[in-house]
């Protein structure tokens, strides 16, 4: 065991000349402003109904990965699981500056829940020697904030999640984890999972040069079989949870809107009184 640890230390990441091997998990989601709907046939998100965009928080993850690469060298690989058209999101990440991508595409992924998604991502990441695996802290469609922790659990890696600041020194990674009352400083050695919040940076826009270069960057497209995944653990039929039914929330009765005529605050107080708040 000691020998093994030593040998890992020799190959350790973040060193001069070798650089940091970084993966960034990005998800294509329906455009933030689009009305989201569930499909009437199988209660999954209707992804055809809206334009797809890169999950906003994942842009911050890509940006942070590129910053680490700029400071420490190495390479950045984008990883996504999603339908064919999620390729657009992969291209966007590549045009921001990532070096290559792995795209898991298979019809049988349809309806995968967080457990299945984390299984697929963890399996494809395992054994590739990534030092840092970046995530957004939440997807705007699922809004679960669990996939990064689940992938860390599956890979037996440290989790440095909800980071508003990331510092890499050699093979040590320190983050500021946002909490209810401020932040915690959390430290781990590579390899580690990192998820970021939007305070962390300002994502770059792809340059024209970046967009052109992205067209030539390698994208490894893997099916369930290619990735060596067990199909019985994936997709809607295998999900650990099931939607029983859903309904549009009855539209809220239109409220009262008054224009301030010098008595706006008093009218508001009257309203609060009728609602028994005062």
């Amino acid at each position: 065991m000691a020998a093994l640890l030593n040998c890992q230390a020799v190959k350790s990441p973040g060193r001069e000349g070798v650089g940091v091997k970084i993966a960034v998990c990005v998800k294509q989601v329906p455009d933030t402003w689009a009305e989201k709907k569930l499909r009437s046939d199988d209660s999954t998100l209707d992804r055809e109904a809206a334009d797809g965009v890169m999950n906003e928080l994942d842009e911050y993850a890509v940006e942070e990965a590129l910053k680490v690469q700029e400071a420490h060298g190495g390479e950045v690989t984008i990883v996504t699981m999603g339908p064919e058209r999620a390729g657009e999101t992969v291209r966007k990440a590549l045009s921001m500056g990532a070096d290559g991508a792995i795209h898991l595409v298979d019809d049988a992924f349809h309806g995968s829940d967080a457990l299945a998604t984390s299984y697929a991502i963890a399996t494809v990441l395992a054994g590739r020697g990534f030092d840092l695996i970046f995530f957004g802290s939440e997807s705007t469609d699922a809004r679960m904030s669990v996939v990064p922790a689940m992938v860390a659990e599956r890979l037996g890696m440290a989790q440095l999640t909800f980071a508003q600041k990331v510092d890499v020194i050699g093979t040590s990674v320190t983050i500021q984890r946002v909490t209810d009352y401020g932040f915690e400083t959390v430290e781990a050695s590579m390899p580690t999972v990192v998820s970021v919040v939007e305070k962390i940076n300002e994502p770059r826009y792809p340059s024209f040069k970046g967009i052109m270069a992205a067209k030539k960057k390698p994208v490894e497209t893997l099916s369930i079989a290619d990735a060596g995944l067990d199909v019985s653990q994936l997709g809607l039929a295998a999900a650990w949870t099931v939607v029983e039914d859903f309904a549009a929330r009855p539209p809220k009765a239109a409220g009262t809107v008054v224009t301030d005529d010098g008595e706006g605050g008093i009218k508001l107080a009257d309203f609060l009184a009728t609602q028994k708040f005062i």
């Binding site: 689940m150 401020g182 400083t185 859903f246 809107v257 605050g265 309203f271 609060l272 009184a273």
Partner: protein, 317 residues
């Protein structure tokens, strides 16, 4: 009746209000046992848990459980699930709660539902998704169901019992210790209720204009015993600390009353407040999208409307 594990949310040794809500919900499904993880368990805590029906409290006491984020909590829970075979695990849908639920789900190979706002006796969870536009009922079909429930989803109802303390000692694995908390920076406490648990939240946005502008927001909040919130425009500008941000990447709040002042109503802001029971909007722009959600709105200058309201509340008190 079957046992339901309820994970206690606590800070500085005191039980957070959401725990009494979770215990109330757990009683619909079975017999709640509380799980206290971390240091600071006391008779005071036991009394609160007993008041809401926890006949048993499993206590994993010790700083080692909180010196590493999330992973040790999941290990304690996994060991309890293996030993006690509960019918469900209920936890708060906070950042820590959801991540703990996620890691636990993998460990015990069970389904997890986050952001639930209700649970039925049959274990069917209610969620409000897509910014509140759709209500979904779902259930876990594999393993021991894990529910992460949003604060303020259900009014806490007491059902006093005598609690028994059951000490549990779970050795933490090396993997769970890989990430280490080396410091905690506590932003200044403001003495107001906890933002995610408060019954009333008074928020300010870019319309507040400057850090000093928040004085009128705070005064209104204090006249109502409310928490203060802010939009990202306000936190990004540095007018108000980040931990008060409401929205997609801030806190999700679901108070009885949410008052938005000088906030336009971007979708990312709505995502964090849309399920509030009553919504009040003050904005000088009649076209501000947040008026669509308002139960009561005032088109006007917040610097006129808000102080007048605060005065009026004080007068009527």
């Amino acid at each position: 009746m079957s046992e339901v594990l309820v994970v206690v949310e606590h800070a500085d040794g005191s039980v957070k209000k959401v725990t009494s809500e979770l215990l109330t919900l757990a009683r619909i499904m079975g017999e709640p046992s509380a799980v206290w993880i971390g240091p600071g368990y006391s008779d005071v805590a036991a009394a609160v848990l007993g008041e809401f029906g926890a006949a048993k409290v499993y206590v994993a006491d010790g700083a080692q459980y909180i010196d590493h984020p999330v992973a040790p909590r999941a290990e304690v829970l996994a060991s309890l699930v293996a030993d006690q075979s509960p019918s469900a695990v209920i936890i708060a849908s906070s950042a820590d709660g959801k991540e703990t639920a996620g890691r636990l789900a993998i460990k015990i190979n069970s389904g997890v539902i986050t952001d639930a706002i209700g649970i039925s006796a049959e274990g069917i969870a209610t969620q409000s998704v897509f910014g509140g536009s759709t209500v979904v009922h779902s259930k876990v079909t594999k393993g021991t169901p894990i529910f992460a429930v949003r604060p303020n989803s259900t009014p806490p109802v007491p059902a006093a019992v005598t609690t028994t303390r059951v000490d549990v000692s779970v050795p933490i694995s090396e993997v769970a210790m890989k990430a280490k908390v080396t410091g905690r920076t506590v932003a200044q406490k403001d003495g107001r209720p906890d933002l995610s648990e408060a019954a009333i939240v008074v928020s300010g946005g870019r319309g507040v204009g400057a850090p000093e502008g928040f004085a009128v927001i705070e005064a209104l909040a204090d006249s109502l015993g409310a928490a203060v919130g802010a939009s990202r425009a306000a936190t990004d500008a540095g007018w108000y600390p980040h931990q008060y941000q409401v929205g997609q990447t801030g806190k999700t709040v679901s108070p009885q009353l949410y008052m938005a002042n000088g906030i336009s109503g971007a979708i990312q802001h709505r995502a964090g407040m849309q399920t509030s029971k009553t919504i009040v909007v003050v904005n000088k722009d009649p076209e501000a999208p947040l008026f669509e959600l308002a139960d009561f709105g005032v088109v006007g200058d917040l610097f006129k409307v808000v102080p007048q309201l605060t005065e009026e509340i004080k007068k009527r008190a």
